[in-house]
Symmetry: C2
Subunit: 180 residues, 2 copies
Amino acid sequence: MAHLTISVEYGIHCLLWLVGSGDTAMSIRELAELQGISPSFLAKIFPKLEKAGIVAASEGVRGGYRLGRSPEEISFLDIVDAIEGHKPLFDCQEVRERCALFAGKPPEWAMKGVCAIHGVMLQAEKAMRDSLASQTLADVAATFGRKAPDAFLKDVRAWVDDHAADRTGRRDKPAKDAPS
Amino acid sequence: MAHLTISVEYGIHCLLWLVGSGDTAMSIRELAELQGISPSFLAKIFPKLEKAGIVAASEGVRGGYRLGRSPEEISFLDIVDAIEGHKPLFDCQEVRERCALFAGKPPEWAMKGVCAIHGVMLQAEKAMRDSLASQTLADVAATFGRKAPDAFLKDVRAWVDDHAADRTGRRDKPAKDAPS
């Protein structure tokens, strides 16, 4: 099993679609349908993203989620922390104080500062977090934008607009739904 | 819960004592007693460290564990990987191929190279692993050596030697055990 859960993966994929949808709010159902993933799973992730200000929810027939701030201001670290919580790399149990030679009374020198092992782990954790903090949603959206053909990006835009129109009933009904 | 388990913490603490014990093998029981931790827990960790060549086991009354190579050649990454396995930061499920617009047939451009999200995660994982690889048992033992008073290091040495002597029966029995 990986350190980060599948919730992070699903969350980031959703946020990338929201970069593209701009002012058009997308519902959980639409985000799930577009990506072939479970809507009930996404429903657990979005309240966390909203609480962190990464997405903003709106109510009503046109409601759904938009990004809560610009994609340049949403780092991968923001997203990971919002979904997983700030999970430390290492949870120091202060094993050092239990040394049999201290007989239950660890001397001051032994407990001074951070345990050297913990120090190494904190440094590695910082390296990872700094790397995640240096990448934003905008960076990855740009990478994807360079890769995807214009036709695909237009198709996505049309898909999002069509679904939004279906929800708001602003689109002409197709002929087959017309009364005979 | 932290990304790394308590097994890593216990394992590294044990290895640091083995840096100090040098050629004197220490048993799991001694390592557990010295640190006030569970011997049965340690018994699960040491076979993994042995498999990775980080410790070497010897049989018999003088048997136990020594370091398998010099502490300069044992990095924190070696230890973490030995105990936890090479656990990735992120386990990419290739969500990109499931996009509804691809209708089950993702085009070549969409699947080319590593998913951009996965790319960011791989970079963060590398930063963490590089940091762990840059620190060795020798580095941390030196930090501890600078902190601990000489008297404590001598006490530890005496504790290790006394326990080894108890096991091999090479020590004079204390007077109270002499026949009356």
